[in-house]
């Protein structure tokens, strides 16, 4: 009986805390939205694994390196020494975003492409989602309606890489198809 009473009490407290946290986090998100802090803070948070729902940086951190093949990861393999500042690896196929892009050709209408990392003037590969045409930095919208509301990161004009021949799109690619 005592445990039951405590359980009710704990449940009530947990519910109240949960509602408070929900409201607080929502308010924080809206506040960041209003201030535009998302765009200026360079938070690498826009890459969300479609398989796990977690952030790319978190997923990548869990395995330590980009997966060579399908592991359910959405790896963000940053290569600072390269002109291509970020290679986004498809979680289903393990291929890079640029390769995936090449399999479908031109960006879809409404594509919003950006140079990753804001490297203006540097020729770069636009990693464009073939499904939505959005840039790779906003890939978490690949199954949705284009860019998410907070995905803006500055960058100069970009150059779309020509389509590569012979790239085969493996099966089960939920992200890049």
């Amino acid at each position: 009986m005592r445990i039951l009473r405590n359980l009710l009490m704990v449940s009530a407290v947990t519910g109240i805390v949960a509602m408070g946290l929900y409201a607080g986090i929502n308010a924080l998100g809206n506040g960041l939205d209003a201030t535009g802090l998302y765009a200026s803070s360079q938070l690498p948070t826009k890459l969300v694994c479609p398989a796990t729902g977690c952030m790319a940086t978190a997923c990548h951190g869990m395995t330590g390196s980009p997966p060579p093949s399908s592991t359910g990861q959405f790896a963000d393999a940053r290569r600072p020494s390269s002109a291509q500042s970020a290679t986004l690896v498809c979680p289903a196929t393990g291929c890079s975003a640029a390769t995936c892009h090449a399999t479908t050709g031109e960006p879809a209408p409404g594509s919003r492409t950006r140079a990753p990392g804001g490297q203006s003037g540097m020729p770069s590969t636009v990693q464009v989602c073939p499904a939505t045409g959005c840039a790779a930095t906003s890939c978490h919208a690949t199954e949705g309606n284009g860019r998410p509301p907070h995905s803006g990161r500055g960058g100069g004009p970009v150059q779309v890489q020509p389509e590569e021949e012979g790239d085969e799109e493996p099966e089960g690619n939920a992200l890049w198809q």
Binding site: I3, N6, L7, M9, V10, S11, T14, V17, A18, L21, Y22, I25, L28, G29, L32, D33, Y38, L43, T45, K46, V48, P50, A51, T52, G53, C54, M55, A58, C59, M62, T63, T71, G72, Q73, S138, H140, A141, T142, E143, G144, N145, G146, R147, P148, P149, H150, S151
Partner: protein, 158 residues
């Protein structure tokens, strides 16, 4: 509830949490179901120690042992981070708290989910370390009870 039963519950809870913490290893469906399955045992765990929590909080401003003060602080962090992790987990789950379409959830929820999962794990490890004597005591008693009958004295709060 005996100390042995409580320890078994806590151990199961801990293992389930560690498994749920690694969705890449378990897969998303298992991650989600395991996370939901943890809720009731976690509430039960808290209920079993609720009186201590109330006691400690009532004495927080006055006399409270230093270790208990640390325990209460860690427990508070653990509680809030786990609840935040659960709430954000529901929000970011497509078809559950979130629309079935990915990318429509504000990024803050993913940050919170990831951060609180890490924070919860750290807090659990500290929580375990702070209650290590109780855990070791229960295990030791369980082992020696097979050889020697002795009065059960396991009601000490962890």
């Amino acid at each position: 509830m005996s100390a042995k039963a409580r320890l078994a519950l806590d151990a199961a809870l801990f293992l389930a949490f560690i498994a749920a913490y690694n969705p890449v290893a378990t897969g998303i469906p298992v991650h989600i179901w395991l996370s939901f399955a943890i809720i009731l045992p976690a509430l039960l765990h808290l209920s079993l120690n609720w009186e201590w929590v109330v006691y400690a909080m009532s004495r927080l401003a006055g006399k409270l042992h230093g270790v208990s003060r640390i325990q209460l602080s860690v427990d508070a962090v653990l509680f809030i981070s786990v609840v935040a992790c659960c709430v954000s987990g529901v929000v970011v789950t497509p078809g559950l708290g979130a629309p079935a379409v990915l990318g429509t959830v504000p990024g803050i929820w993913y940050i919170v989910h990831s951060f609180t999962a890490d924070l919860s794990t750290i807090a659990i490890v500290v929580h375990l370390a702070l209650h290590w004597r109780w855990i070791a005591g229960v295990v030791r008693r369980a082992i020696t009870a097979q050889r020697l009958v002795r009065p059960a004295d396991s009601r000490v709060h962890p």
